[in-house]
């Protein structure tokens, strides 16, 4: 229903069509009954091309993690389809498309929690190979050494336990494990958020290097807008289970049209005191609404500054906005997307030093 067009003309590597993931809210122990649904992902469509990075931003509860988990098959979708190379992926775990599933891998936020503390690092990295009956024991061991070198560790690390590694090293191990089956797509869910600044930069560079070498596609889920901008070709902004705006990274950060995106960008502190002093901020009132009972009409209307400015038009509360075309590959789901005042866009949004570039980032040199 809200399918924003993709700028890429070639068929998408991964396509999500009108995906819904609802969680039942139950009451009672013996006679469990469903009293409601949390609409974690609610009618969402998204495309990802080969060697492309799509950044997914949004606040907690916006459904970005749920979307990532549904894509890699960790959560069954309520409805909708996920197409990989044009073929639908089944929600069943032991389905015959399991081979297709191995092409979609995930890197988690907390490497301490996602590695078994009682397993040597080598065993964790080899697990996906073992589970999928790839190679002999010796071949798997060789592959683990190779993978460790790919992520910038030494083969000797295979014999260590997770607690013997630093946070950055553990995240490299998580990445090596995700790469074990040569995936085409990696869903990185807050993969660098827990790392210290100097280590985070190392892992970000590694992600870019791997993408250039292996034509990997990333769905990069993060709340850090600066990191998302740095890594992404396109960025999708989520609010309460839906994508509210989608554009090439440079366009989104210089010409945001959805009032939510504008306020999100204005809220992020910029590490430059001169810029900070001159910026205007739109501080949103209140917290994001409960995803179990999203507001009718536009889901953002309860906190929307633009609606207030326009004299609270009824339409926002009554009618769900469709994605409006802003420019090539740039859509915003707002009835009044074209009425975001230019001075607000310019003063709240981070000033860009570079001219707006196309959807493909220049390769790292």
């Amino acid at each position: 229903m809200t399918a924003p067009p993709s700028p890429a003309s070639e068929p998408a590597l991964l396509e999500v069509r009108d995906l819904r993931v609802h969680f039942p809210i139950t009451r009672g122990a013996v006679f469990r009954r469903t009293v409601g649904q949390v609409h974690a992902v609610d009618g969402l469509s998204l495309k990802l091309a080969t060697a492309e990075t799509v950044g997914l931003v949004g606040e907690s509860g916006s459904g970005k993690t749920t979307l990532g988990r549904a894509i890699v098959g960790l959560l069954p979708p309520t409805s909708g389809t996920i197409l990989f190379r044009g073929l639908p992926l089944s929600a069943k775990r032991a389905a015959p498309d399991r081979a297709g599933r191995t092409q979609l891998q995930m890197v988690f936020q907390d490497p301490t929690a996602s590695l078994d503390p009682r397993w040597r690092v080598g065993a964790s990295i080899a697990e996906p190979l073992r589970v999928n009956h790839v190679g002999t024991r010796a071949e798997r061991r060789a592959r683990v050494s190779e993978l460790l070198e790919v992520v910038g560790l030494s083969p000797g690390h295979a014999r260590r336990y997770p607690h013997e590694l630093s946070g950055g090293q553990r995240q490299r191990v998580g990445l090596a494990r995700a790469l074990a089956l040569n995936p085409a797509v990696i869903v990185a869910d807050e993969a660098v958020s827990a790392l210290d600044v100097s280590i985070r930069a190392q892992v970000i560079n590694l992600l870019q290097q791997l993408q250039n070498e292996r034509k990997l596609s990333y769905l990069f889920i993060a709340h850090d807008l600066a990191v998302v901008r740095h890594l992404s070709d396109r960025v999708a902004v989520m609010y309460l289970g839906q994508i509210v705006e989608q554009a090439a990274a440079a366009d989104l950060y210089s010409d945001a049209r959805h009032p939510y995106t504008v306020s999100l960008l204005s809220a992020v502190p910029v590490p430059d005191p001169t810029v900070e002093a001159g910026r205007q901020r739109i501080v949103l009132p209140g917290d994001p609404p409960n995803p179990a009972s999203p507001p009718p009409g536009c889901r953002f209307h309860t906190r929307c500054w633009l609606r207030k400015k326009l004299g609270n038009p009824e339409r926002c509360a009554a009618e769900e906005p469709a994605h409006q075309h802003v420019s090539a590959g740039h859509t915003a789901a707002c009835h009044y997307a074209h009425q975001v005042p230019e001075n607000v866009r310019l003063s709240t949004v981070v000033p860009t030093a570079e001219p707006a570039s196309g959807p493909t980032a220049e390769p790292a040199s």
Partner: protein, 373 residues
Amino acid sequence: MSVDGRAPTATGDPVLRVRDLIVRFDSGRNVVRAVNGVSFDLEAGGALGLVGESGSGKSVTSLAILRLLPRPTAKIVAGEIWLGDRDLIQLSDREMRRLRGKEMSLVPQDPLSGLNPVLTIGEQVVETLRAHEDMRRREARDRATELLSTVGIPRPRDQLDRYPHQFSGGMRQRVLIAIALALRPTLLIADEPTTALDVTVQAQVLELLHELTAQRGTAILLISHDLGIMARMTRRIMVMYAGYVVESAPTAEIFARPGHPYTAGLLRSIPRVGDAGRPLTPIAGSPPEPDWVPRGCPFAPRCAWALDVCWHEMPPLEPMEAVTFSRDPRPGRHLLACHNPVAADEVEGGKPLRPGFHAAPPPEDGLVPQGTT
């Protein structure tokens, strides 16, 4: 409303003076030198930021000031902490209890663990007020209602009877700010006050913290690893590494003209507008193990500017020679602990540009193991 620097309430006399603070953790098995001789001043109404990665000693410094270090493992080995005219290290626990909350207070990182889950919000605010001031219950409740309304909590009187779990993260953090500012302290310590919050809620909380502290002339010591928050909220920044202050300067100057290779490296490690897609310049290696005792500068193993002397001798924190940039009319001093500072033209590239220069390799005996000093 913009948060551009601090209101002119900042005066010359320091509210807080820390001198040569040394804190160690002794677990019996090993000793961690968490804070190694930290000194700084914070003037009334000032805003000082403490930047550093995990294990740099920034939180330990703040806990030492509040005298809330875990006992018996952590110990203030030496130093002075002056709040006004009292040296906190000399005070008894009883005297400290009277001070905490009233003259200095803390906004913790995690709003859930900062509140008691089995007491109502009202009980917790009232408790703080009545612990320090002679107030009737009714009077304290009225004051609590007023406080909650100051921090922007809607329908404050009804909220008093609710429990922390019924509040969202942002609302809990507001309650903690209300409690922290209830008695108009002269010093507020905020340790990663918005790390657990979403961006839009973070903006609300930062705005609130700024407004309230500026209005009341409360000095704020802000601890964060987020350089964006530092740029927005502080007037001066102190950079810590492995328990040492390696650089300290007015906020604008730290960003425009960092002198320490670590500071310059941090600034080059964060993605910046304008170079999307280009690789970042990270700092090599990882932060040291907590129980590692360097003989020289603790940053030497990761430093591209390292000289031979760096491996043997920790440089003192001294005024940097050429102060080249400042937007602040009263610039304050730029202090630096480095044998081989980053030159102005090296800041952008994040590496030394002198022809033929290579970082000095570690000497054979450079890494002194724990327990030899």
